[in-house]
């Protein structure tokens, strides 16, 4: 039979009718529509993640000194969300940006997955055994050649068992060069020691304050324990307490304060002393102040001569009526408190700032009072017997510290990392032959970063103990990968201005994802590899044994509750001189000369959306950064500096323009964000950008402000207290 046109059409018609009488059309349409809706045909299929049993694990966030309790939601063995722990005495369920994004640090590509060794400039994976054997071999060589004291160690957290194990390792090995990173607490403790006869960690009772006078402290920008400060601020709003922010920039703190007092950067102490002068002049000081003491007399005389309202107004840019009003409001408030610490206060403040602010608190009667400042004892619970030293160590430990801390020149400092870097760079052959860096990122966080990098390049053996490929790890010869903070036990002494300092305990919330170790276990293994007295100093099988033994009877409480309240720790340092008998002589000596303010000053600023410390900003958090701070154009991600219209006109630059920002130590190409929220002749730049390492999400975005700022040594403490620096602006 010949199939003609008509029969073909009939065949098709039959097919159509038949098909219509089957479930095929409906079913196929339905199936295809489902197919198009699913990810299945996509090259990078993303199905809904697998479901499972929900559980929560509690721990302590150790990403900043704040010490918040966290509650991690898990699906089977995956951690899927970090939340603030309800009822935790620090954060009461609240949490910050960085804490929330912690899982990106845990699972992110910037984790170091196995031990790495640098060969010809690139990292090669090695086994733990090999890495430890190599490093132990090199250390033994140094030790056998009488160079034990050329080994140094930098610990990110110098006060907990991890840091102290590094110190113990160095001591048993024969090196005095255990370096910690000085904090704002250290500077305040020192100032308190000078003025009140006994040093103590500042503890602020903000919850009961009625008037908070902040000298450039980023109360809402990461200062202290950030979540606690947010909660304190909200309570001030609820109960009518006032927050006055002295700040060169309309920071988030200044924006939320009841009053913003713009000031020339670096003149905070001048303002504080000017206020002290008005308080004393008008007899508004607390009754307890002994006005007859010689030191008070000298103080009053100095203020009279050098800190008259007019002088202070000239120096700070705050006019006389405002000064008078501010002094009165502060002195007359029922429970005022004054605080200092630039931005997030991750670095020490100058002794002048610290003492001036302490004196204000004393004049207002706010020391050891509800709503004021109390000097507390640092949590003290690590009481290991001193390691038994062999002859090599005994001899080697007599060598003076390389950073000079504790010597006649820097009597009050425990550690001076910036001096260590200077020392390395000052000699042709590095006086540091091997450097351990544990949970710290000094290449990024220390000032004059170029110099730090040069020093690291000069040191023959740099061993980084790090969970992340940070700027310092990238400079290392060996990277020993650590458990992230969510995978390990760690005691976490928390001061951070808390009314009651405490010790938190981070507990592993999931099993380690990669071939990593606890820093404590790394040090134990390394000590055992070295053998002899060094091994003998580490009698513990594992870090956890050490931790349990250290906390002894408190282990049960801390491992179940997650923290030890202060009452269970050593008692507070109450043995200081009564605040009324404050010794002003150290302050008088410092305040003889007023700080000089350059014509144009570059200052860093901190905010909650950029992590300024050793931890890099995770993708979720960097995503929240405004396009007036960071913006990609022409394949380059530029950082914007803030200046106001007056300054822009003066230096003939325009909003959005590319400019060269130059300081005595470096220069960088940046863009202008013209804003009215900043004082005249001040440039503000965010701190925490410009990482060289980490990953695509963070690296090469903006500029690290530490490349533009040089260390400034405090005359009393010796700490690097740099904040602003003289700057120049030119068109790019």
């Amino acid at each position: 039979m010949k199939i003609d046109r008509r029969s073909f059409l009939a065949l098709v018609a039959g097919g159509a009718v038949g098909t219509a009488l089957t479930p095929l059309p409906l079913k196929l349409t339905d199936d295809l529509s489902i197919w198009t809706q699913s990810f299945r045909y996509m090259p990078n299929e993303v199905p809904v993640p697998p479901d499972g049993a929900v559980s929560t694990a509690e721990s302590v966030c150790t990403l900043c000194p704040g010490g918040c309790g966290i509650s991690v939601r898990k699906i089977d063995n995956r951690a899927v969300k970090i939340e603030g722990q309800e009822g935790h005495p620090v954060n009461h369920g609240g949490i910050c940006t960085l804490g929330l994004a912690g899982l990106q640090l845990l699972y992110g590509p910037w984790r170091i997955k196995k031990p790495l060794k640098k060969e010809n400039g690139t990292f090669k994976a090695v086994s733990w055994d090999q890495a430890l054997t190599d490093i132990a071999g090199k250390l033994n060589d140094l030790r056998n050649n009488d160079k034990a004291a050329t080994v140094a160690g930098i610990a990110g957290n110098g006060n907990n068992t991890t840091g102290r194990l590094l110190q113990r390792f160095l001591t048993a090995f024969g090196s005095p060069n255990y370096v910690t990173l000085p904090s704002s607490d250290d500077a305040m403790a020192l100032a308190a020691g000078k003025m009140l006869g006994k040093s103590g960690i500042p503890a602020y009772d903000f919850e009961n304050s009625t008037y908070v006078l902040s000298f450039s402290a980023g109360v809402l920008d990461g200062w202290g324990s950030p979540v606690r400060m947010f909660q304190a601020n909200s309570s001030w709003k609820d109960n009518g307490a006032k927050l006055v922010q002295v700040d060169a920039r309309l920071s988030n703190t200044a924006a939320k304060a009841d009053t913003w007092v713009p000031i020339k950067p670096g003149t905070e102490a001048v303002l504080a002393l000017g206020l002290a002068n008005i308080i004393i002049r008008d007899g508004m000081q607390a009754a307890a102040i002994e006005t007859n003491s010689p030191s008070f007399g000298a103080f009053r005389k100095l203020l009279n001569e050098k800190y008259s309202p007019k002088d202070v107004a000239n120096a700070t840019g705050v006019d006389v009526p405002k000064l008078e009003k501010l002094a009165r409001a502060f002195a007359k408030a029922s429970r005022p408190v004054a605080i200092c610490g630039n931005g997030s206060a991750q670095d020490p403040v100058s002794s002048l700032d610290a003492m001036a602010v302490l004196s204000l608190n004393a004049l207002a009667g706010s020391i050891n009072r509800s709503g004021g400042i109390r000097l507390a004892a640092a949590p003290d619970y690590i009481n290991w017997p001193a390691p038994e030293l062999d002859a090599v160590a005994e001899k080697s430990l007599d060598t003076p510290r390389l950073d000079g801390a504790g010597t006649a020149e820097y009597r009050d400092a425990a550690s001076l990392p910036h001096r260590l870097i200077q020392k390395v760079n000052s000699k042709a052959q590095s006086p540091v032959q091997a450097l351990f860096v544990c949970d710290a990122n000094p290449v990024f966080t220390l000032r004059d970063s170029q110099n730090v990098k040069t020093a690291f390049e000069k040191i023959p053996l740099v061993v980084s103990l790090s969970a992340y490929m940070d700027d310092t790890a990238a400079q290392a010869d060996y990277i020993l990968p650590l458990h992230s903070y969510l995978e390990r036990y760690e005691d976490f002494p928390t001061t951070a201005g808390l009314a009651k300092p405490m010790v938190g305990l981070a507990r592993p919330v999931i099993k380690p994802v990669f071939d990593t170790k606890h820093p404590g276990d790394v040090l134990i293994a390394l000590a055992n590899a070295l053998g002899g007295a060094v091994a003998g100093a580490f009698p513990w099988g594992t870090y956890k044994d050490c931790l349990k033994e250290t906390l002894a009877d408190n282990w049960g409480t801390i491992s179940s509750k997650g923290y030890l309240a202060q009452s269970t720790l050593a008692t507070a340092a109450e043995a200081m001189a009564p605040a009324g008998q404050m010794d002003f002589s150290a302050l008088v000596k410092l305040a003889e000369a007023k700080p000089q303010v350059p014509e144009l000053t570059l200052i860093p600023y901190d905010c909650m959306r950029i992590s300024g410390g050793s931890i890099g900003t995770p993708p979720f958090v960097i995503k929240t950064v405004a396009d007036t701070v960071l913006k990609k154009a022409n394949k380059k991600t530029d950082v914007f500096i803030e200046i106001n219209e007056v300054t822009a006109k003066k230096f003939k630059v325009k909003d959005g323009q590319s400019v060269i920002l130059e300081t005595p130590v470096g220069k960088a190409q940046v863009k202008i964000n013209q804003t009215e929220g900043i004082a005249n002749d001040v440039i503000a730049m965010p701190r925490g950008l410009g990482h060289a390492a980490f990953d695509d999400y963070l690296a090469d975005k903006g500029v690290n402000i530490n490349t533009l700022v040089a260390p400034v040594e405090d005359p009393v403490s010796g700490f690097d207290v740099a904040w602003g620096i003289k700057a120049q602006l030119t068109k790019a």
């Binding site: 039979m1 010949k2 199939i3 003609d4 008509r6 029969s7 073909f8 009939a10 065949l11 098709v12 018609a13 039959g14 097919g15 159509a16 009718v17 038949g18 098909t19 009488l21 089957t22 479930p23 095929l24 409906l26 079913k27 196929l28 339905d30 199936d31 295809l32 489902i34 197919w35 809706q37 699913s38 299945r40 199905p47 809904v48 479901d51 049993a53 929900v54």
Partner: protein
């Protein structure tokens, strides 16, 4: 004027005799073609397509629900239970099975296979789940069982009395189990409440029981 008409007339005039036979033949061819088309498409639609659409897979281990129902005290919820947070645990994990089966109970071939391949190697059994909804569907067992008081059978059928697990059929296009659409491809002849579990089935019951089909988010995520 009308050229088409003229032409057709001309053709008709010339070939009238031959036309009748040819027309009959033509009609037959048309009818035959139509029928062939009809039969082929019916065969494709009813037999070939269903056969091609679904791939078949046996469960990794056979399982006798009926037997287990004798052994447990709390019916289905003995093994398929609610967690404290209200979520439904679904198919038991190996750990649950091992509460009883930490070593072989009895000596059937399937029991030995289960113990050797899974229990001893501590490997979860990759059960194929007949009633698994698309992963973008939120289904709350708690709302249906605890709140609405429905029985398991209403959606899952008499699984509890089955003595073996049927062959699992997976839709090659969507990747979903056949039980979602149901055995009956027409989707019209639904005899039992558990015969199919498409969105329309959910909506019908919701409309009947609650007065509203419910908003999108009630079931979709």
């Amino acid at each position: 004027m009308n050229t088409t008409d003229d032409k057709s007339k001309h053709v008709a005039d010339g070939e009238t005799g031959a036309m009748n036979l040819a027309e009959d033949k033509g009609l037959l061819a048309v009818i035959l073609s139509f029928l062939v088309g009809l039969v082929i498409s019916l065969a494709i639609g009813w037999v070939v397509y269903p056969a091609l659409l679904y791939s078949e897979q046996e469960q990794p281990v056979q399982f006798d629900h009926d037997l287990h129902m004798y052994e447990v005290s709390d019916g289905c919820e003995s093994c398929h239970f609610f967690r404290e947070d209200g979520t439904f645990a679904g198919v038991p994990t190996l750990a649950q099975c091992m509460d009883c089966h930490d070593s072989a109970l009895g000596d059937t071939e399937e029991e030995l296979k289960f113990v050797e391949e899974y229990v001893e190697q501590e490997k979860e059994v990759p059960w194929l789940i007949y009633s698994k909804q698309p992963d973008c569907v939120f289904f709350s067992h708690a709302a249906h069982v605890k709140k609405a008081g429905m029985s398991c059978e209403e959606c899952h059928g008499p699984v509890g009395t089955s003595t073996s697990l049927k062959t699992y059929q997976e839709n090659r296009i969507t990747g979903y189990s056949r039980d979602i659409w149901g055995e009956d491809l027409t989707g019209v002849f639904k005899k039992h409440s558990w015969d199919s579990m498409k969105m329309d089935d959910c909506a019908r019951c919701h409309k009947r029981e609650t007065g509203s089909k419910g908003a999108c988010f009630q079931c979709h995520k």
